[in-house]
């Protein structure tokens, strides 16, 4: 089984999470990005769903493992597992439902509680195609994103508007963080004390070492 890895050619592997209220279109954003599909009759997500896609950044192949989590509730029992190792997040709200934007703050808190501080976050206002129903002005969201120091983009999974750009932007930013951090870390990997979260790059290894006592099993 060792020899064939057609699926697995990449230089970097990044885990992204999609979060946000139920029904804001997370799953369709994902299927648009991963499979270029949109389904008007999609079912609600139960638990978590997974997809992958590789893109090219500079001359490197970056593979994104995207975890699409159910929006209606946060599965406390396995929340930290969902976020573990995530280096990027798309926090999605529905531009036609203001309440989903109001909840962004709560999601952001949860995200920051469970992930590395260097995580790349993008606030995504989805369903931008519903122009006549717009409830969240672009400027309001933009200002909020600036205040919270996250990236921001409005998308439409239905019209395939900005979906590619949003994901690519997040992945590119992660890539930049990582390559910068890799340089900073110098060429002596053993100099990094075990168990200390130093940068995004070490997150996957280090956090797993640290957190072996919580959850799951």
């Amino acid at each position: 089984m060792a020899a064939y890895r057609a699926d697995d050619d990449y230089d970097y592997l990044f885990k992204l999470v999609l979060i946000g209220d139920s029904g804001v279109g997370k799953s369709n954003l994902l299927s648009r990005f991963a499979k270029n599909e949109f389904n008007l009759e999609s079912k609600s997500t139960i638990g978590v769903e997974f997809a992958t896609r590789s893109i090219r950044v500079d001359d490197k192949i970056v593979k994104a493992q995207i975890w699409d989590t159910a929006g209606q509730e946060r599965y406390r029992a396995i929340t930290s597992a969902y976020y573990r190792g995530a280096v990027g997040a798309l926090l999605v709200y529905d531009t036609s439902r203001h309440v989903t934007f109001e909840n962004v703050e709560r999601w952001l808190k949860e995200l920051r509680d469970h992930t590395d501080q260097n995580i790349v976050i993008m606030l995504v206002g989805n369903k931008a195609d519903l122009r006549h129903l717009r409830a969240v002005p672009t400027e309001e969201a933009k200002a909020y994103a600036e205040k919270e120091n996250t990236y921001f983009m409005e998308t439409s999974a239905l019209e395939a508007l900005n979906v590619e750009t949003a994901f690519t932007e997040v992945l590119t930013q992660i890539y930049h963080v990582v390559s910068r951090k890799a340089l900073d870390a110098g060429n002596d990997p053993s100099a990094l004390p075990k168990g200390q979260t130093i940068n995004v790059g070490s997150k996957d290894d280090v956090s797993a070492v640290k957190k072996t006592t919580c959850c799951s099993a």
């Binding site: 064939y4 699926d7 396995i78």
Partner: protein, 721 residues
Amino acid sequence: MSSGEVSPERNGEMGRRFGELRGVQWRIDLGILPCESSSVEEFRRVNANSRRSYAALRRRLLINPHISKDESSFHDRVMDNPLSQNPDSTWGQYFHKAELEKMVDQDLSRLYPEHGSYFQTPGCQGVLRRILLLWCIRHPNYGYRQGMHELLAPLLYVLQADLERLSEVRKQYQDYFTDNFDGLSFSEDDFDLQNDQVKVNNVSLNELDPKIQTIISFSDAYGAEGELGIVLSDKFMEHDAYSMFDALMDGDGGAVAMANFFSHSPSPQNGLPPVIEASSALYHLLSIVDLSLYSHLVELGVEPQYFALRWFRVLFGREFALEDLLVIWDEIFSLDNSRLSGCSENEGVLNSSRGAFISSLAVSMILYLRSSLLATENATLCLQRLLNFPEDVDLGKLIKKAKTMMDLAVDAINSIPEPSKPRGHRHSLSTDTTASGSPHSIVPESYWEEKWRVMNNEKEEQKQPSLNKVQNRIKGWSEKVKMRLSRTDSAGFLSKGKRPPVRRNLVDDLAREGVTKESLLSSGNGGNEENIDHGNETDVSSVASYSSVNGNEDIKPSIAEEVASPLPVSDRPEDINGTEKPVTNLREKRPLSGKFQWLWMFARNGPEGSSEKDGEVSSDKDGYESEPASSSVTEFDQNIAVPSSSTTTDETDKPEGVDQNKMYSLKDLSQSMLENIEVIESIFQQEKAQTDSVENLSRNAMEAINELRKISNILSERDVR
């Protein structure tokens, strides 16, 4: 030991009195209606009572403050008005309900779009909404959770199907339903049918098919409790669906209570949320029936709850089409849900025959995907496959396989250790085989490459003419190994500059021990061979024993044998020459920590590190030279390369042939296919020459064929993309 309890009470389809009335059968199985042998009167009485209590509940809880205000006393008006902040006020509850309703509606609008003509009708949505609201209001500690709607929907659906069956029967045996003494029944239609009626009337009710009799007597408006007692009733479908849903969620006092799977709070018994506990039980069973697959999943970091959460929560509803799901639920509900006695922990969420079957079915599903899971090298892809179960699945086979595992599942559930031990999912079996047996499942990925090389060496010794082929093949390996190494490095999550400490240790250990290729081949290969064979045997023999018997006497020895026999392998001091050792240590730590938290790629890197012992790794230097931190690897490569280069003749010219590009092209795949075919070819050639090791060789051939199968998996997957 528990086969008596486990063997289904259901004696095949024919034994079920209400086989064709699923809704009735499920209501019996779920404990709403009395047992099958009860009289029709009894059925009707119980039925009427459950409907009464639902009606009362609905009247009490789904109040509309707009309507009820006239009768509510005036003095409440001050406390109880729409602006009241008191959540207990009528209005407070009303608004809470409105919020709940919004949440429920959001999911209901996305319920079974493929059966939208039924589920998306306003009438059906209303029924579903009321049931969910009422249940959630009555169970405020759960509230509404996504997935509940999909547990409820099939229940309503089978009640509807029963009604359709009723109307079929009514059409066919109209006269039995017609009250000839009731003047109203003489409508024009009835006059038209007079002729038929005369014929049919010659047969008395008692001579009809008992099933038809039942349907007719269930629908007699003059029976016990009158209209309220009619078992198959359009009017009370909502009532019946509620009682079914409530019983399903509540488990009727038994072990499997679906509501558990929606709970976040740890159970008081073992401190684990029920979903996690059930997921662990599922993996525990998997480790018993197929250790190699289990180890593969664990190694990749595929934690069971990632997929089992959905499987359990909607009781496989997302994994199968509705019609198939009904068959699966038939099986599940037909099994007794009362707690199995005689085990330490009586409270387990799957601790009943029904729970054992649920667990077995889940394992059966995983086994169904076995080869495609084994061919998968990362967790995300594994999970994608587990959560996109094939639609054209052979349901009968799946269920049959699950049933054969039930005894084991019961034992597995019983052998879950005391919660106080922090051992997590690695439950020690009574025979304590899991822990001691686990190292044997570590099969270094270089296994095949080494095997091929051994055969090449043999070939060379035998001076077979296919030297060119061999050279090509070795070249192919070196490319593969290079690619693996480069991937391994980049796969260490993000930073190429850093190397996980444990991995470095592996590498260092290996270099320090000055492993020569010869020793790797002679001892490592021997050990590995056994390992792999056992991995396969586990499955084969378990299948064989499952298909032949239901009793567990026959299964147990084979399992014990499977698990126990590889033990000597791990005891060998020279086993894999030290590369195995750190890996083994790593794995031994895991059960102690009791978590599934292996890193995505890192866990993969451990075994892969050992695979890099192949001599060809030396060719990979160019892939790293630009990276400052990769020095340890390159050093290691050099260490290894020296002894190994003496073995294979054409090693030196390899670096030139290596493509910098790490992309796997179709060409690479076809090259690999060719290599596998060559392996099989060479086996056939050798088979003629030396007959003594035929068994061994045919095993090799099987392995090569398996590899080919995996390639075809990959190719088809590519195509899909």
